[in-house]
């Protein structure tokens, strides 16, 4: 168990190293024009420079903040709404068709609407992010609450638990694997929308940095931004993975 984990970690490092090497070779032999593809060394230098002398750090934090708040709002609303809908078969029957209609709408399609209503403001950006990240959380929560073992509700009845207690002690923990899976998806959506909104609405952040770098043919800067985005996505996924592992010990301990 321990060894196989170490081995797979080693393998993933190796793959990453090979990828960077291939990138370096392609750039060094100018298989792609250096105007469009700088080598990893130049991208790295640009990344370091951006953090030390430039304002890349500020822009990075702006994107992180935007993503986080949008995701948090989406998660809170998604779980609360999902709990209400998931525990009520009636609400579910009424709302299901509308949810199915709204769900496949690409979240970026809401940006023009949001701009029209809220203007080019930070509030608009937050609304779009929260709206987009809401769906995965909401749908997963509804499913999680609807799938609670009916027998457990009977146990709650037999013990005369109040409705609030049943939700807190039975339904919510039972739905938590689904909810966390939804929140994980929501975080990805929040990151994507943060970047897209920054590009479209010209808010300060990584998305804007990448767009400006591309427009002025500063390819190393562009790649520095992309690398940073990749890292951000990677580490948030790891963070949520750790949270899941902590909250769902009982799942991993199953035989």
């Amino acid at each position: 168990m321990k060894w196989s984990r170490l081995l797979s970690l080693l393998a993933s490092f190796l793959v990453t190293a090979l990828f960077v090497l291939a990138w370096k070779l392609v750039a060094d032999y100018k298989l792609v024009s250096p105007v469009f593809l700088p080598g990893p060394d130049r991208a790295w230098t640009s990344l370091v420079r951006g953090f030390t002398t430039g304002d890349l750090g500020v822009k990075f934090l702006a994107t992180v903040e935007r993503m986080f708040w949008g995701w948090l709002i989406a998660s809170l609303i998604g779980v609360a709404l999902g709990a209400a809908i998931g525990t009520s078969p009636k609400l579910r029957a009424y709302l299901a068709p509308m949810l199915e209609f709204l769900r496949p709408l690409p979240a970026s399609a809401t940006i023009p609407v949001a701009i029209a209503v809220l203007g080019l403001s930070d509030g608009m950006v937050l609304a779009v992010i929260a709206f987009g990240a809401l769906w995965p959380v909401l749908l997963a929560t509804i499913h999680g609450f609807a799938a609670v073992e009916p027998r457990l509700y009977e146990v709650g009845r037999a013990l005369r638990l109040s409705r609030a207690t049943v939700i807190a002690k039975i339904a919510l923990p039972s739905a938590s694997p689904d909810i966390l899976a939804g929140m994980r998806l929501g975080l990805t959506v929040a990151l994507i929308l943060s970047v897209v909104c920054e590009m479209i609405a010209g808010r300060d952040g990584l998305g804007n940095w990448i767009l400006l770098a591309a427009r002025s043919f500063r390819a190393p800067d562009l790649y520095a931004g992309v690398i940073l985005l990749g890292l951000l996505g990677y580490f948030t996924a790891i963070a949520i993975g750790l949270l899941e592992a902590r909250l769902l010990v009982w799942r991993s301990r199953a035989r």
Binding site: E149, L152, R160
Partner: protein, 257 residues
């Protein structure tokens, strides 16, 4: 029907239908306090339904169910239900101890008193060293023991058990039968025990009641005059045990025909 007021469970001319189909019809039955009554009958005759009515999970369409002298409209905390599907009736995200704790939390037992009581209860069902295990880490027999411990945490005056040992292997089942008998002897609880196993019914019961199907009604009401404490080998070899088993076997054969 002379419904004595000091009976633990009274079914008074109870009827129930699902979607217009009568499931239980005109069922009258008294279970005395401290009595162990076993219910047998062919599959689908309404055993589980009767038990759920005694637990307040289902309301009869007609007639009344009284528990400890009071008409039953909702589940009561002093009536504990042991479900057959222990795998579904336990909270998988709680350890054995925390599962038992749920009943104490429901009863408003002060936090400081819970660990001690949980330890006592788990020890009583033979799970002393397994407090911190999750249900999924335990065998079926151990999971059912958790559920029984949780029910005992309710301090029940009445225990309703729906084929609690039906899914367990023979050895585990016999062990749990004896544990249950000694716990019940200790607490003086009334037991309403549904089973498919005729021998189990005779072995455990003070009385065995056989239901007839379509709609469910009482077909046979046998008194079990076997000495207590009962013994897995001796009791099962007694002529009276064999006679009762034979009578019930004949009853079931006719009921299923």
């Amino acid at each position: 029907m002379n419904t004595s007021n000091d009976a633990a469970i009274v079914f008074d001319r109870v009827s129930l239908a699902y979607g217009g189909r009568p499931i239980i019809s005109d069922l009258s039955l008294d279970v005395g306090r401290g009595e162990i009554v076993c219910i047998i009958g062919p599959s689908g005759c309404g055993k589980t339904t009767a038990l759920r009515m005694a637990g307040g999970l289902v309301r009869p369409l007609d007639g009344t169910v009284r528990v400890l002298g009071e008409p039953l409209t909702e589940p009561r905390r002093d009536v504990a239900i042991v479900f057959q599907d222990y795998g579904k009736a336990l909270l998988p995200w709680r350890t054995a101890a925390a599962n038992v704790s749920l009943a104490l939390e429901a009863a408003g037992t002060p936090r400081s008193e819970r660990p001690e009581r949980i330890r006592t209860l788990l020890a009583k069902v033979g799970l002393a060293s397994h407090e911190d295990k999750y249900p999924t880490e335990m065998s079926g027999g151990m999971q059912q023991r958790i559920q029984i411990a949780r029910c005992l945490a309710q301090d029940p005056a009445v225990l309703l058990m729906d084929e609690p040992f039906g899914a367990l292997d023979a050895m585990t089942r016999q062990g749990l039968q004896d544990e249950m008998l000694s716990i019940v002897a200790e607490t003086g609880a009334t037991v309403f025990f549904v089973t498919h196993d005729l021998e189990e019914a005779v072995y455990l019961g003070d009385r065995v009641i056989g239901l007839l199907p379509n709609p469910g009604r009482i077909g046979i009401d046998l008194k079990v005059d076997l000495p207590r404490p009962r013994d897995q080998l001796e009791t099962r070899e007694m002529p009276e045990f064999l006679r009762l088993r034979r009578t019930l076997f004949d009853f079931i054969e006719k009921a299923e025909a």
